[in-house]
C-alpha cells in the first residue's frame, strides 16, 4: 500500500581529508549520505557546499576511492571510503 510514494534509497560514504584540506574543513573525516546512484562529482559538490573553503581548491583537488584515483563520473557505492586532498608533494 505504498501508493505513488517513491522510495529514495540512501547510501553512506566516509570522506577523509588530508594535508591542509583538514584545515579548510576543520575535520579529518566526514560521513556523508547521498541518494543511491550518486557520482563522485555530486559528492564533491555537496562537500563544497558543506565546507565552502574547499571550493577555492576545486580545480586542483585530487579524489580517490579506496587507494585509487577516480574521476567525477565515478559511481559511488554504499560504504565507499573517499579521500580528498591537494596536489601531492613527496620527495
Amino acid at each position: 500500500m505504498f501508493g505513488n510514494n517513491r522510495l529514495t534509497v540512501i547510501m553512506e560514504v566516509s570522506v577523509h581529508f588530508y594535508s591542509y584540506f583538514k584545515d579548510l574543513t576543520g575535520c579529518a573525516q566526514s560521513n556523508q549520505t547521498l541518494p543511491d546512484g550518486s557520482t563522485l562529482g555530486v559528492l564533491h559538490d555537496k562537500l563544497m557546499a558543506d565546507f565552502p573553503k574547499l571550493a577555492s581548491m576545486k580545480k586542483s583537488t585530487l579524489i580517490a576511492v579506496g587507494v585509487d584515483y577516480q574521476l567525477r563520473d565515478y559511481l559511488l557505492k554504499h560504504g565507499d571510503e573517499v579521500s580528498l586532498f591537494p596536489p601531492v608533494q613527496g620527495g
Binding site: Y18, S19, L62, G90
Partner: protein, 130 residues
C-alpha cells in the same frame, strides 16, 4: 623486478642500506638518489618539514609505479624509502636505489620514478618555519 618500499618515521641509515645491496653479475649500473630537506621554503628559512602520508594509498601507488617501471626498463631491483613526520634541514627525506644493466636505463628509470612520485603518490609536506 625485486622491489623494497619503506615508509618510516625513522632516519634513513645510508650506510646500512648500502651494505644490504644485492645485485646479480649482469648489473652494470646503480643509481642512488637522495632527496634532502632544504633550509628554505618560498624564500623563508625553515628548520624542518613535517611529512604526512596516506600510507595505504602510498604503498599502492608506488607499487603501480614499480609495475610500470618494470615494463619500461630492464631494472633488476628498486629500493625506496620515504620518511614521514619531522625531517630536519639537511636530512634525507627520500632514498632511492635503482639497479639495471646499463647507466642509461638506470638514470632514466630513477628520474621517471621520482617525477611520477611527485605526481601521484599521496605525501604532503608542512614546512616548519623558524
Amino acid at each position: 623486478m625485486k622491489r623494497s618500499l619503506l615508509i618510516t618515521a625513522d632516519p634513513i641509515n645510508e650506510t646500512a642500506l648500502l651494505a644490504q645491496r644485492n645485485m646479480s653479475p649482469g648489473m652494470g649500473a646503480v643509481v642512488n638518489f637522495l632527496g634532502v630537506v632544504r633550509g628554505e621554503e618560498d624564500g623563508k628559512a625553515i628548520s624542518a618539514i613535517d611529512y604526512e602520508a596516506f600510507e595505504k594509498m602510498v604503498t599502492h601507488q608506488f607499487n603501480l609505479l614499480f609495475d610500470e617501471m618494470a615494463k619500461r626498463w630492464p631494472v633488476e631491483s628498486v629500493r625506496l624509502i620515504h620518511r614521514i613526520g619531522i625531517v630536519r634541514v639537511n636530512e634525507p627525506s627520500l632514498w632511492v636505489e635503482i639497479a639495471a644493466p646499463h647507466r642509461g636505463e638506470a638514470f632514466a628509470a630513477c628520474q621517471w620514478l621520482i617525477d611520477e612520485m611527485k605526481r601521484v603518490v599521496p605525501i604532503w609536506k608542512r614546512p616548519q618555519f623558524k
